[in-house]
């Protein structure tokens, strides 16, 4: 499998990058670490005439503190660097479970947020697809994994995203027409064929982490078939903030990915204002995971949906427990 021919530009400034993307009218793509994009191009899953490499833009490679107390992580910061950010343990945990060291070194945070959805059909090469009608995600009119489905159910697969959604992080996006801020969860839509809401010409520049409030704990758990180098079957993150009494839940949030088409916040608000007990966490987790909605197994078809849903509940309970423990010790 070889890469198709393409142009590559390495602008030194964000403005230049935005200009290049704007001019290319949808034919261009941002190239960050390339660990997801280049294999997809080799497989002929993604086509692009121009790649705009953003790794030369100094401003996107820094982690900085903003005046409002938030932390801004440049989109081109490596995933490895995020494993060292300790403010939100869930995020560091998630980062350390991404792929393996070398890929975390190449891979960026921005690229991780915009990693493509995965499916055992879509993941295959052009040669494998020879003679086969295209599916939704390859521009066709059918789905092989869920033949009765009317849209693509490829699985959302980033590990950082559920952590960022639970944390309540936002992203900054820039284009020729200006910049906008949006919640991480709003970067996604439930269509595996076009899973991101970013418009062509837009660059994700920063991820903004809110300050971690006092009495807050967070946790991330990933289930995969292997310890490293494997995408999540299910991954869950949870955040719990305790009130001053150290017992009552002030705020709680959680999110799931891996077995869903778009990373999904899980409703754990019922915890708020109540005294936390293991029993309560169990009950709330059992209820909250129903919000997963449609469970997809497109990402690894040998692992059935029922099992994934069941395990998502277990992981949610455990991550709530871990977050709670961290909150008590915070």
């Amino acid at each position: 499998m070889r890469l198709p021919p393409f142009e590559c530009a390495s602008p030194a400034s964000l403005e230049e990058a935005i200009n290049l993307l704007g001019q290319a009218a949808g034919q261009a793509r941002v190239l960050a670490g390339g660990t997801d994009l280049l294999p997809a191009m080799k497989r002929r899953g993604i086509a692009a005439g121009l790649l705009v490499n953003i790794k030369g833009i100094a401003g996107l490679k820094q982690v900085s503190a903003r005046e409002d107390g938030s932390t801004a992580i440049g989109a081109a910061v490596s995933v490895n660097e995020v494993t060292g950010l300790t403010a939100w343990p869930a995020l560091a945990q998630a980062a350390s479970r991404v792929a393996a060291w070398t890929l975390r070194h190449m891979g960026t945070v921005g690229g991780n947020l915009l990693v493509d959805n995965r499916c055992w059909y879509y993941n295959r090469s052009g040669e494998w697809w020879r003679g086969k009608e295209q599916c939704f995600k390859r521009g066709g009119e059918r789905c092989y994994v869920f033949p009765s489905g009317r849209q693509c159910r490829a699985a959302a697969s980033s590990d950082l995203v559920p952590a960022l959604v639970a944390i309540g992080a936002r992203v900054e996006v820039q284009s020729a027409s200006g910049s906008r801020l949006l919640a991480v969860k709003d970067l996604y839509r439930a269509d595996g064929a076009a899973p991101h809401t970013l418009e062509p010409g837009e660059i994700l520049t920063h991820i903004l982490l809110p300050p971690c409030p006092a009495g807050t704990g967070s946790a991330f758990i990933k289930l995969a078939r292997r310890q490293t180098l494997d995408f999540a079957l299910v991954n869950v993150a949870a955040v719990i903030s305790l009130a001053e009494d150290g017992r009552t839940c002030r705020e709680a949030s959680a999110a799931v990915s891996g077995s869903v088409v778009a990373p999904t916040p899980l409703p754990v608000k019922q915890l708020e204002g109540r005294e936390i007990t293991t029993w309560l966490l169990d009950e709330v987790a059992g209820e909250a995971v129903k919000a997963m909605g449609f469970v997809t197994y497109a990402g690894a078809m040998d692992v059935p949906a029922g099992y994934r849903r069941q395990v998502a509940g277990v992981l949610l309970r455990r991550s709530l427990e871990q977050a709670w423990e961290r909150a008590r010790n915070a």
Partner: protein
């Protein structure tokens, strides 16, 4: 002796530095002048007749040099088991029909890979789609479509083995169990996908550098397929990045296609399989359904065992005609049965081709046999270790399938593995979710049966002493990463009493080295090792005779060691090996000082030496998610005399890795003949972080059949891992798992029986 011993030492691999530095030349690293890139068009239909192939548009693609199809071949079939005409059913380039998604239908050569890919897309094939069969059950239905028209019922081979009176055996039983086991479709996953470079020299000489385990089979088969005399095909073995049985089928599509394209263009052609092609278009482990009925007496001794194995053979025979026989033979290792009956059915389907894979059917049947033995032990209230000790084969026994066992250290392996793992101390007090289980296996070293009547030798070697007293060892053995080159040098060095670094090893090159059947059936250490030892001994004899004559002493009083020859009866006399060799040559008009060796196994039906092993695995299960962590494995192995402990440990650890994947995670998912996960990211082969601690225990039992008493250690070791893990999971979960792989989902679901 100590220092002077070349064997029994962890000599670092001779090829280690070159490999670590990236200097070792694999087929994919070869760059010949004018070399073209070849690519193969494969079938995307599981079963279809080829009406027409039109390459006219492809030929017009810029950079494209030539295309070949089945019409450019003689239309002959091939396969590794030449002793059965019917098994030669694999056409490396299909002619009339394709039988699985992945069958080669055409190939092109172009100036680069892009041009070759573009040209492939321009080839038009007119198909007539045929109904297909995807499971043995479907395939065996009356009236089912035939994968091979001359093979009724899609039965590739049926075989029955009998030993003793099975009815009487079951009558004697105090307790009988019947269970059904299923194993999965595993892939070899060598780090280096199959790669071949072919060169053509007029008027008709072909040279191939191909990543194979069996260079001489490739030579012989390719000559036949091309219709040229054998001496017009030269096969040179480059460094090979792993085979595990997957490169032991002789000619693959890439070999024939590269040769034909090189002939057509007059330029060297390289074809390298992509990882996807490696998964789909090569070979896999036979998935099996194993029905097993076993009777035991009150003491737990097996009075009768009956098995019926149905194997999904896929589209071609591969090694299959041997495989389905071996499954029956290997089920009789490593235990003693009062009576035995085996029926094996290998069935053709329109799935990828099944063939040999490390352990060659032993891991499947031994998984079933060993798990069921655990169940029997429990039924009778006998400790799993104890029941194994009671049934374990011993020195000199004959198995129910007829193997004459030489040395057998199995009982000792079982005891050692149990001791080292804390079987008697910790096992009873493990916390919930933890479990310890045992598995055992046995495996032969090299086969005596003549599967390749076309190749006269089993294995041969030549040693040549050079003018400066250094030694060149010419050996056809195929080191595909297991380290046999190093072991051969150690054996020759030991025999000649020189240092390993004084020996230059010449790897298999069919124009230079003498013939060897290749690296399969765990042959190399015992077979090639014996040949090498003999070749060295011949030189030694010549030298000693010469010196005895010079010194006027009896030959028996001479010793050759530490690079010199000394005499017990004349302590003042000594001569260096180099001087002695020089003297010999001078006396013989400069004649080359050479020694030839061969190994011709005395037992032409079965085998000479058998390795045995026991492993105890400890697992930790997360009952809610079903995730399993194999915490450690103690592997006690009787590989005879250990020539190179480090190399043996490499085999033991590597086979735990393979057994781990076989047990818990690896499966090529095939639907309607199509492999859905042909990629390392989607096929869950374990990674380093998944590996347990492995403790290796060597049992040094010298076997008279092997060189210096060595036996095999590359394949038998895969057998015990999966049953040990499955049995440990039983203790951890209270559930039996009879189907592989035992995924977290299976565990949460609660297994396959009590």
């Amino acid at each position: 002796m100590g220092e002077q011993q070349a064997i029994g030492r962890s000599l670092p691999r001779l090829d280690g530095p070159a490999k670590a530095r990236g200097e070792a030349v694999y087929a994919g690293d070869l760059n010949l002048p004018g070399m073209l890139c070849g690519k193969i068009l494969t079938s995307y239909l599981p079963h279809a007749r080829i009406r027409r192939i039109d390459t006219s548009a492809a030929v017009r693609v810029p950079g494209m040099k030539a295309a070949v199809t089945g019409q450019d071949t003689l239309g002959l079939g091939c396969g590794p088991t030449r002793f059965r005409e019917k098994s030669l059913d694999f056409l490396p380039l299909a002619r009339d029909k394709v039988r699985y998604i992945g069958d080669a239908v055409a190939a092109v050569a172009a100036v680069d890979e892009d041009a070759a890919s573009a040209a492939l897309e321009q080839i038009k094939v007119e198909w007539e789609e045929l109904p297909a069969v995807f499971t043995p059950e479907e395939a065996m239905q009356p009236g089912a479509p035939l994968v091979h028209e001359n093979m009724p019922g899609n039965i590739s081979r049926r075989i029955v083995l009998e030993g003793g009176d099975i009815e009487a055996g079951f009558r004697q039983a105090y307790h009988i169990r019947e269970d059904i086991f299923n194993t999965s479709s595993d892939s070899h996953v060598p780090l280096e996908p199959h790669t071949c470079v072919a060169k053509y020299d007029p008027p008709g000489y072909f040279t191939l550098w191909t990543s194979t385990q069996v260079p001489y089979m490739v030579k012989s088969d390719l000559a036949r397929l091309l219709g040229v005399p054998e001496n017009q095909v030269r096969v040179i073995l480059p460094f090979v990045g792993g085979g595990f049985g997957g490169k032991s089928d002789g000619v693959f599509s890439l070999d024939l296609c590269a040769a034909l394209l090189a002939q057509k263009t007059g330029r060297p052609v390289r074809i390298a399989y992509s990882r996807e092609e490696e998964f789909i278009c090569t070979r896999r482990r036979h998935p099996m359904q194993i029905y097993l009925k076993t009777g035991v007496n009150r003491q737990g001794e097996i009075t009768a065992r009956q098995a019926r194995v149905i194997a999904d053979g896929g589209a071609y025979s591969g090694w299959g005609h041997a495989s389905i026989y071996l499954a029956g033979l290997f089920l009789c290792l490593p235990y003693r049965y009062g009576a035995y009956h085996y029926e094996g059915l290998r069935v053709y389907t329109n799935n990828p081709v099944s063939s040999a894979m490390r352990g060659h059917c032993a891991p499947q049947v031994q998984f079933a046999g060993d798990v069921q033995l655990d169940m029997l032990a429990e039924d009778l209230g006998i400790d799993p270790v104890e029941i194994r000790l009671r049934n374990a084969l011993e020195d000199g026994e004959v198995t129910a399938a007829g193997f004459k066992i030489g040395t057998c250290g199995l009982k000792e392996c079982i005891r050692k593995a149990a001791e080292r793992s804390g079987w008697y101390t910790r096992r009873a007090s493990l916390p919930p979710g933890r479990g310890v289980g045992i598995g055992c296996a046995g495996f032969p070293s090299g086969q005596g049966f003549r599967l390749r009547p076309d190749i006269p030798a089993y294995t041969t070697a030549v040693t040549r002493v050079n003018e400066d007293g250094s030694v060149t060892l010419l050996c056809g053995a195929a080191d595909t990463g297991q380290g046999s080159d190093t072991v051969m040098v150690q054996i020759a060095a030991q025999e000649l009493g020189v240092r390993p670094q004084d020996i230059r090893y010449v790897r298999a090159d069919s124009d230079i080295t003498p013939a060897d059947l290749g690296n399969y059936s765990s042959r190399e250490t015992v077979f090639a090792g014996n040949a090498v030892k003999e070749a060295a001994a011949r030189v030694k004899e010549k030298l000693l005779a010469f010196i005895a004559d010079e010194w006027q002493v009896p030959e028996e009083s001479l010793e050759i060691a530490g690079g010199e020859i000394t005499c017990a009866s004349a302590p003042d006399k000594r001569i260096s090996f180099a001087q002695a060799a020089r003297g010999w040559q001078e006396k013989h008009q400069g004649k080359p000082l050479v020694g030839e060796g061969t190994y011709d196994p005395p037992d032409k039906k079965f085998y000479e030496a058998y390795s045995f092993g026991a492993q105890v695995a400890e697992v930790e299960v997360d009952k809610e998610t079903g995730q399993v962590k194999v915490v450690n494995v103690v592997s006690a192995h009787d590989a005879g005399r250990v020539i190179n402990p480090m190399a043996v440990e490499g085999q033991l650890e590597g086979s735990v890795h393979m057994g781990l994947g076989f047990a818990l995670s690896e499966e090529m998912v095939v639907r309607q003949g199509r492999v859905l996960n042909p990629a390392l990211v989607d096929y869950a082969i374990p990674v380093a972080a998944d590996m347990p601690e492995v403790e290796c225990v060597h049992l040094e039992v010298e076997d008279p059949a092997g060189p210096f008493g060595a036996k095999e250690c590359g394949e038998g070791t895969v057998g015990p891992t999966a049953p040990a893990i499955a049995n440990a999971l039983y203790q951890a979960t209270g559930r039996r798992f009879l189907n592989l792989p035992i995924t977290p989902f299976q565990i949460v679901k609660g297994g396959d029986g009590q």
